[in-house]
């Protein structure tokens, strides 16, 4: 890495951001057509398929993962990780459950654009952007609020499946539990990898660039969703 000059470094950053956006295009809509017909044929409680879909959406949902990575990037104590991730969980579970039960239909592009923005926000905060601007932010509250938007995104995805009203509550709860299971799996992997990096001196130097990459990925996600909204 030492040899990389600023320009190639930027090229690498853009490349990764583009890759992230491509992955999100492939994965963020993974709950659409293939599983749709099957889910619509489910009439009654079917906890395992919904649990699986919730977990799969979380593990393959690059937007949720990038936000979580940003949230825990500078968290060293397990207690802090649990507190922040709990705020995120409270946020997204609230809007997931309420959104589906009340049948709130929001445009999925707009919700996903806000989720992309949440990644930008977190990266900007990690870069010390708000401190430099002299803005004090309650970071726990921010994670809770963005969690609410992530939950709206989940609710929109689940409603797009057109699941039957019969057994909806059980299936919704199973989906939510699946989301949390997927989150624990993803977090376990991310924390282990992050801790390996943190143990090397390159972390102090690379943290800044990692968050710049995160910011770029957030921008790519947001731009991708806004472009989708403009076309729809």
């Amino acid at each position: 890495m030492q040899a990389l000059k600023p320009l190639p470094r930027l090229a690498v950053a853009i490349g990764i951001a583009v890759l992230a956006a491509w992955a999100s295009a492939a994965f963020a809509h993974d709950l659409s057509q293939a599983n749709k017909t099957y889910v619509q044929s489910i009439n009654g409680p079917a906890p395992m398929p919904f649990f699986y879909l919730g977990a799969k959406h979380m593990v393959t949902g690059i937007d949720h993962l990038l936000f979580l990575l940003g949230v825990i990037f500078f968290l060293y104590k397990l207690r802090d990780i649990v507190v922040y991730v709990s705020m995120f969980t409270i946020g997204h579970s609230t809007t997931l459950l309420l959104g589906v039960l009340l049948g709130t239909g929001l445009n999925s592009y707009l919700v996903d654009a806000i989720i992309g923005f949440s990644v930008m926000y977190k990266a900007f905060e990690n870069l010390g952007g708000f401190r430099r601007l002299g803005i004090a932010i309650n970071t726990k509250l921010a994670v809770l609020v963005f969690g609410l938007f992530h939950g709206l995104g989940l609710a929109t995805k689940l409603q797009d499946l057109g699941a039957s009203k019969n057994g909806l509550l059980e299936n919704l709860i199973a989906f939510n539990v699946g989301v949390e299971a997927g989150q624990v799996i993803a977090l376990a992997i991310v924390v282990v990898l992050l801790d390996f990096w943190r143990a090397t001196p390159s972390f102090a130097r690379g943290a800044r660039y990692a968050n710049l990459l995160l910011l770029l990925a957030g921008m790519a996600l947001t731009a991708y969703q806004i472009a989708g909204y403009a076309q729809s």
């Binding site: 099957y38 079917a46 699986y52 376990a188």
Partner: protein, 226 residues
């Protein structure tokens, strides 16, 4: 650059023993997830039978096979006869279509028309009561494409014995339908857009009654002859 100095407490690399133990736990979790969840749900490979019992293998199915109701309905012959969109859903067209397939319509037929506005993401079902072998002709239109599932529920067997004949996104359908069994026969429509959509239907057939399923449950519906 200087104010970018978040507290970075020293982190030590885990011991060899912790790495081995952690990797072993991760490998076991991965193996369990693969065998019990990922292989049944993604590939349909069900080593333990858990995938079949929990319904996970259903996620691995693609296309019409993914829907057991559609699979059953598509095996039926002489049930659905699609017509051009401009065909009139009247008695003459019904009798002519049936005659062309060597069938006859009962002497007494009813006409009906109905219209509903679906709010964003709202869905509704409307079905006619037909006995086995009784025909109808119908034409429905929507002001924008809607998700539709044309299906029938037999009196004998109820919901689990449902058969679907068409599941698609469409804004119109015109066809003659001959009931394969005694029960209720009709459509599930879902608005999948953010704008209200109007669905209207005209039908002629041997039905005597109609029924609606909406968020409030099941309601009988008075026929409205044309």
């Amino acid at each position: 650059m200087t104010d970018f100095a978040p507290a970075t407490p020293p982190v030590t690399l885990p011991s060899r023993r912790r790495v081995i133990a952690g990797s072993a736990i991760a490998a076991v979790v991965l193996a369990l997830a693969l065998v019990f969840f990922i292989m049944p749900a993604e590939l349909g490979i069900d080593l333990t039978g858990f995938g079949e019992r929990s319904g996970l293998t259903g996620l691995a199915q693609k296309g019409p096979a993914a829907n057991v109701y559609l699979q059953r309905g598509l095996q039926r012959k002489n049930v659905l006869f699609p017509l051009p969109a401009d065909a009139r859903p009247d008695e003459a067209t019904l009798r002519a279509t049936l005659a062309a397939h060597g069938m006859a319509a009962p002497a007494k037929l009813q006409t009906d028309h109905w219209q509903v506005e679906l709010q964003p993401y709202e869905n509704i079902e409307m079905k006619y009561l037909l006995k086995q072998g009784e025909p109808m002709i119908f034409a429905w239109r929507a002001s924008a494409p809607v998700h539709v599932d044309q299906h029938s529920v037999p009196d004998q067997g109820g919901n689990p014995a449902t058969e679907s004949f068409v599941i698609t996104d469409a804004s119109a359908q015109t066809a003659v339908y001959v009931a394969p069994f005694t029960g209720i026969h009709g459509w599930f429509w879902q608005n999948q857009s953010l704008n209200p959509v109007t669905v209207s239907i005209e039908a002629t057939g041997a039905f005597g009654r109609a029924v609606i399923f909406d968020q409030g449950g099941e309601h009988p519906r008075q026929l409205q002859p044309r």
